[in-house]
């Protein structure tokens, strides 16, 4: 069989089947072979894969969808006899497990290798509110690799006492096949915007792929990767869609967390941050030209839906970001910014109408006003405004 135009899909990630369907949907003319986990090796020089039974398959394009490795189970599994559990791990799996246990009335301690859970996604303030929402105690900066059953102990020597210890590492990209073929691998198989690996004829999508520096995409994002790549291959390199947007949504009974975009972008340009520890709410939205470049929202499901939608579509955000976050009505303004009780001099709390009264009683000019009311004798920041007011009152007087 001639390999020209043949697409071979290797790996058992559910996204593999989706990708094959999408190729057909886009009318891809060549052969498509969905080989699953039977692929044992890649021969890049000959452009073919070898199966476990010794047969070979040539490819024009190879798509790796090897997914993630199975996460290890409990480190020390027993009945939750004392109603307390330690959850080891930093990522969404650990947070979800902790939340489910807490829902059942278990006292949970999260033991993380980073300073707090999801440290690659959220800051310490957000993590504190997340922990309070679960609720869980957090012990950070623990060398998880050094832990053994019954010896959950952090670096500073403090000990976590728990009847049950659950190990909940985040899923690890399955990169064995890619690595044996000498493709560029960091945490996952490194791919570019067109999901190409370091070999232009080999692509990777789903759990095994590291796109934009982030391995193991969420389910929706993985689905979008399959669609994007299928469209790219079917149209011979012309992409009909932009690269997929990275949105993580984590929901349990107690938690509603949305993270969009790269965490590094949360510092730049305009940022809007809401912190409401008592209400278990937090938001940080980074904008450029009113468009969302990154966002983290916790405990704000409605606003999160709007922000994530705008982020995916590249739509500008409404100007009243606070109103969106807090669910405030748009027509809520009452305006007293320039009324008579507006202070002119903050240092001495001199109001506009007190100044005007002094003026009418004969204090003409800033010096006279200062002697009477002390206006402008503190930081002096209002002196220009006093001169303007004097000039205005002078004009008004002349006019009458």
């Amino acid at each position: 069989m001639n390999g020209r135009g043949a697409v071979v899909i290797a790996g058992g990630d559910p996204v593999a089947r989706r990708f094959a369907e999408m190729l057909r949907h886009h009318g891809y003319p060549g052969n498509v072979a969905l080989l699953g986990t039977s692929v044992a090796a890649i021969d890049r020089a000959e452009r073919r894969v070898e199966l476990r039974d010794g047969t070979t398959h040539p490819y024009d394009r190879l798509v790796l969808a090897t997914g993630t490795e199975a996460a290890p189970g409990p480190l020390h599994g027993s009945v939750l006899d004392d109603g307390a559990a330690a959850v080891l791990g930093d990522g969404t799996a650990a947070v979800e497990t902790a939340a489910r246990l807490a829902e059942q009335g278990v006292a949970v301690t999260m033991v993380c290798s980073g300073p707090h859970p999801m440290a690659d996604r959220i800051d310490a303030q957000c993590a504190a509110i997340l922990a309070a929402s679960i609720p869980a105690t957090v012990v950070g900066n623990v060398d998880l690799a050094a832990l053994a059953p019954g010896h959950v102990r952090s670096r500073d020597g403090s000990r976590v006492v728990a009847g049950t210890v659950l190990r909940c590492p985040d899923p690890v990209p399955d990169v064995r096949l890619a690595r044996s073929a000498d493709l560029h691998v960091r945490r996952g198989v490194v791919v570019d915007e067109a999901f190409r690996t370091s070999d232009r004829r080999i692509h990777a999508i789903g759990g095994c792929a590291e796109h934009a520096g982030r391995p193991v995409p969420g389910a929706i994002e993985a689905w979008e990767q399959a669609d994007s790549l299928a469209s790219l291959l079917a149209r011979r390199g012309r992409s009909g869609r932009p690269p997929t947007a990275d949105v993580l949504r984590l929901r349990t009974g107690a938690i509603d967390l949305t993270c969009a975009g790269p965490a590094a972008a949360l510092r730049g340009d305009r940022t809007v941050q809401l912190t409401d520890p008592a209400g278990r709410r937090y938001a940080r939205i980074a904008l450029r030209d009113d468009r969302v470049v990154a966002a983290v929202l916790l405990g704000l499901p409605r606003a999160a839906a709007v922000v994530a939608y705008n982020y995916r579509c590249g739509r500008p955000m409404q100007s009243d970001r606070l109103g969106l976050l807090l669910g405030l009505a748009p027509g809520r303004d009452d305006d007293a910014r320039t009324g008579p009780i507006a202070p002119v001099c903050l240092c001495h709390n001199v109001t506009l109408d007190r100044l005007h009264t002094a003026w009418r009683q004969g204090c003409r000019g800033s010096d006279a006003l200062a002697r009477r009311t002390r206006v402008g004798t503190g930081c002096g920041g209002c002196r220009d405004e006093i001169d303007e007011l004097c000039a205005r009152w002078q004009r008004e007087e002349a006019a009458t």
Binding site: R270, A336, H348, A370, T377
Partner: protein
């Protein structure tokens, strides 16, 4: 009936008390004796950095409404009080006078805190509190030479900016996690640091001072930080906070706050009858307040009490600061930090300006906030206090292109 008020100290707050009392005391009930330690009339301490920048002494002198030499108002410069006997209602001055009082107001202020590190008393080390301090700094400053300011609070930033305007190259050493930690939150402190760095101030924060090092001439040559960094410096200015001057409490037998200061109630009354304390030396319900605006409110409250007018209970939530440091706005309005019943929303532009608003959780009404950089004026935020956060608040507080 004529009664005698003795005021101990003549800083900004005592000045305010005297002027306000003279304004309110229309019947001439009180004759006032002021015992001032410094040899010059009250001046604007907040603006001392302008003197460092070459401003005039006269420009800082606080205005008075009438003469301060007669029997109605007798200002005695260079004549500090040395002892008080509250049971006999007597004050002893350094000149040997013994004054009987009907009312006594302690306004002794505070003294700069100099960290007791090795070398803190070398030639070239200065405090930053009085005219004399600033005069000495002015005489010692040399254009183009490095200087170190210990303390990244309001006063330290003022001092560093004054030195910068004098042509020196100042570094700020602050041990707290961020600048102006007493007033600002971390986000505001970070923006302030960026802006101060843009001005040419070098900021070492958090960093703690280990020692002041002598140069070859035996005078100050630099400072050493706890991480062993050495910063060269021709002069070192200590602006690392103040301690209340409450020495008179020894003889007077007054209660003091846990961290010093004459202990007073919400109306600035000490534990002795007819004795008040105001300004930096007063520990209101145990806590000293280092801001002049707070001191002014205390002075006004006591003046009203002296003439029998109702006075407001002291309330420390409105301790606004409003500072312009070479064009950098730093201001707080109302309640600047959230408690359990409040939430915060912060708007920031690329670490160059910052506006934070504290809101009531239930109503979204504005309680106060912090502004740093090219934001709206604190006045604009102040007029929003007690109102529901308006729809255009973000654009109002951070106006113009971002």
């Amino acid at each position: 009936m004529n009664r005698r008020l003795v005021v101990v100290g003549y800083g900004m707050v005592a000045h305010r008390l005297v002027e306000h009392l003279r304004e309110l005391d229309l019947t001439g009930d009180w004759s006032i004796v002021v015992l001032a330690e410094e040899n010059r009339p009250a001046y604007n301490r907040v603006a001392l950095s302008s003197y460092l920048d070459g401003g005039s002494r006269e420009g800082l002198t606080l205005p008075v409404a009438g003469p301060l030499g007669g029997p109605r108002a007798d200002l005695r410069l260079g004549c500090p009080a040395v002892a008080v006997d509250p049971s006999a209602r007597l004050v002893h001055s350094a000149a040997g006078d013994v004054l009987r009082y009907d009312a006594l107001v302690l306004a002794t202020g505070a003294r700069p805190f100099v960290p007791p590190v090795p070398g803190h008393d070398l030639t070239g080390c200065f405090a930053y509190r009085t005219f004399d301090d600033v005069e000495a700094i002015r005489a010692h400053a040399v254009r183009g030479r490095p200087a170190v300011v210990v303390g990244g609070g309001l006063l330290g930033l003022e001092a560093a900016n004054g030195l910068r305007l004098r042509g020196m190259a100042p570094s700020i050493v602050e041990s707290a996690p961020h600048l102006m930690a007493a007033q600002l939150d971390a986000g505001a402190g970070r923006v302030l640091r960026e802006l101060a760095t843009d001005l040419g101030l070098r900021v070492h924060c958090p960093a703690s001072l280990a020692s002041v090092e002598a140069g070859t001439d035996g005078n100050v040559g630099g400072v050493r930080l706890a991480d062993r960094t050495v910063l060269p410096a021709d002069l070192v200015v200590f602006a690392a906070g103040v301690r209340a001057r409450d020495d008179l409490a020894e003889g007077g037998g007054w209660d003091r706050g846990d961290r010093g200061g004459f202990l007073v109630d919400d109306f600035c009354r000490t534990s002795a009858p007819a004795v008040w304390a105001i300004g930096d030396c007063a520990a209101v319900r145990g806590r000293c307040h280092g801001l002049v605006a707070t001191g002014y409110r205390m002075a006004e409250s006591v003046a009203r009490q002296l003439v029998g007018l109702p006075a407001e209970r002291f309330d420390d939530t409105g301790n606004a600061i409003s500072l312009k440091l070479a064009g950098i706005r730093v201001a707080t309005v109302g309640r600047a930090n959230a408690d359990a019943a409040a939430m915060e929303v912060a708007f920031a532009d690329d670490a160059r300006r910052y506006a934070k608003v504290v809101l009531a959780r239930e109503t979204a009404r504005i309680l106060g906030g912090i502004l740093v950089g090219a934001t709206a004026s604190p006045k604009a935020l102040r007029t929003l206090v007690d109102k529901v956060a308006p729809a255009g608040m973000e654009q109002l507080l951070l106006p113009g292109p971002g």
